[in-house]
Amino acid sequence: MAKLRYAEALNTALREEMTRDPSVFLFGEDIGTYGGVFKVSKGLMEEFGEIRVRDTPISEQALTAMAVTAAMTGTRPVLEIMYADFLPLSLDALINQASIYEYIWKEQVQMPFVLRTQGGGGAGAGAQHSKALDALVAHIPGLQVVAPVTPSDARGLLKAAIRDPRPVIFLEHKLLYNTRGEVDLEDEGLIEIGKARTVTEGTDVSIFATSKMVIEAEKAATLLAADGISAEVIDLRSLRPLDAAAIQLSVAKTNHAVVVNEGWKFCGYAAEISATIMELCFDDLDAPVARVTLPDMPVPYSQPLEDAVLPNAEKIAAAARATLG
């Protein structure tokens, strides 16, 4: 099995799908000649040409709208939006266009496009380049939202997303690109959208995490283990649709739940998971579901400030302990 960087795993997935299906094309800012600012599309313009791998002007609003209708008319566009912080510019196309057409037009169209972006803090990139705006896109009916953490999931979910007949918002994290993991390149490796992944099994408390927070949750589980607390870490992986069965099974076992997401708390993604757990597992819960998120404020630039606001293993462990009373 090959050991790939997360960025390489994504690059592999793009190459595999572009080779398989000539209707797949990539566009976005700096993705061509330069290969993407995180080098995810490295080498693909050379390989597939300038029509199928296209550098674009800085026009996120139109680009997203164009992905929607290109997808409606025979192609499978993969659009890169450089930072999740720019998703607000994509939102009219997602909410007022992509979200509605299949239903409103009585299933006359489908929109097999993928919007890749990356969010999150920890790189000193400041308030306009460090946000996880998962809730904005997860709120939109008709979209699927995934956020892989391992290189293997990154490849498998990206391939599945490109083949899916419906829109997929594909959330990466700037601090994951250089992480490494095993990827079985012999295997097609598709991963079904809608299924969570159990990272660590445990019996005392369930920690449901997304994106890079899964890594923090794993570290938290180690911290908790030292206290004799057995934490089950679940990578939600598919933010929408949600794997409700996996959530229920886990909480039935542990009776305690912590939700971790790097977005803001109020009306954030963690709120949905918290409410859903309460609805599905009310009788199983021995304590309120805890949320660990970015506090409701901008991400500051300076290292000690940014460190103080980002959710991390210590905060997750503390929340788990508090939940256990």
Partner: protein, 323 residues
């Protein structure tokens, strides 16, 4: 003259303009009786733009439209009863009543589709043209939009990319002097809006939007260029909105004299005048009568059609939960 419509084309445009006019009038009357739902945006007096701009397109070509799309729908060959039934929210409507009059789509006819977000049809057509370029086919995408829509930023992002990448897309501006209640002179500093397209090096033309032949010629040239891979074109059609913004408009801001002046330049009459001398009046009368009957029949049938039941169109994945 190059790109001129044939006599047959002209008769067909004349016929379709009558279809649209009678449809608008029928809905205006129904609305006054309280028998319609939601606002309806009529295009009386502007029919030449939508009908003539789309007359040279094939069903394989794509068209995107606006909230005021009836002439665009009919121009693109969409079934009249399907449109009427959709506007009336009937289950027999083109979209089963889910869409309503601002969002009609008929994929088989390349009409995808109406759009009630001002400006949104512009990147939509541009994206379809991008798709055509990637697939290497010779389809053309067209979008018809208003003077108001020309103030949106997405207009510019779209035109820039279309020009940069020489996309096969034709932009047709239906300049009717108003964006809702605000006159175009209070929405932008210049009288003509196509100068903005010219700033991207896009070829432009300004035509009398009430003259179907003029619209046809200018647009046909741009469609040909686009189909030959020479990139986008832009046609600004000057016209005027006779009726209010929509059936819920309370009025009071349009000058009655200006309306009267424009009514003297009825696009249907102009089209008819261009035909007389070439085709007998009696024949044209038959065309008109048949068109009027077609509208009456479509409306009568649509009005008798059933409303949809929710169960027929509840919907699951990817919508995670329904009811």
């Amino acid at each position: 003259m190059k790109n001129s419509p044939s006599l047959d084309d002209q008769v067909e445009m004349y016929r379709k303009m009558i279809l649209v006019r009678r449809l608008e009038e029928a809905f205006g009357a129904l609305s006054k009786e309280g028998k319609t739902r939601g606002p309806i945006h009529r295009c009386d007096g502007q029919e030449a733009v939508g009908v003539a701009a789309t007359a040279m397109l094939g069903a394989d070509d794509y068209l995107t439209s606006t909230h005021r799309g009836h002439a665009h729908y009919v121009g693109k060959g969409v079934d009249l009863h399907g449109i009427a039934a959709e506007i009336l929210g009937r289950s027999t409507g083109l979209c089963g009543g889910r869409a309503g009059h601002m969002l009609v789509a008929d994929v088989e006819k390349g009409m995808i589709g109406g759009n009630a977000i001002v400006g949104a049809g512009i990147p939509a057509a541009t994206g379809m043209a991008l798709s055509n370029q990637v697939l290497g086919n010779d389809r053309v995408a067209m979008t018809i939009f208003g003077d108001g829509a020309s103030q949106t930023g997405i207009w510019h992002e779209s035109l820039n990319m279309a020009a940069l990448w020489k996309l096969p897309v034709v932009y047709v501006l239906e300049h009717n002097e108003y964006g809702l209640t605000v006159h175009s002179s209070r929405q932008g500093p210049t009288e003509d809006l196509s100068t903005r397209a010219a700033a991207y090096g896009i070829p432009t033309a300004i035509v009398d939007g009430n003259d179907a032949i003029a619209v046809y010629r200018a647009v046909a040239e741009m469609v040909d260029r686009a189909r030959r891979g020479e990139g986008p074109g832009f046609v600004e059609c000057k016209t005027y909105r006779w009726e209010g913004f929509s059936t819920s408009d309370m009025g009071g801001y349009q000058d009655p004299e200006t309306i009267a002046e424009w009514k003297k330049r009825d696009p249907i009459e102009i089209a008819r005048a261009a035909l007389s001398g070439h085709i007998e009046d009696a024949k044209l009368d038959v065309v008109r009568t048949q068109a009027e009957e077609e509208v009456q029949a479509a409306m009568a049938r649509a009005l008798a059609d059933p409303l949809p039941e929710f169960e027929e169109c509840a919907y699951t994945r990817p919508y995670s939960e329904v009811l």
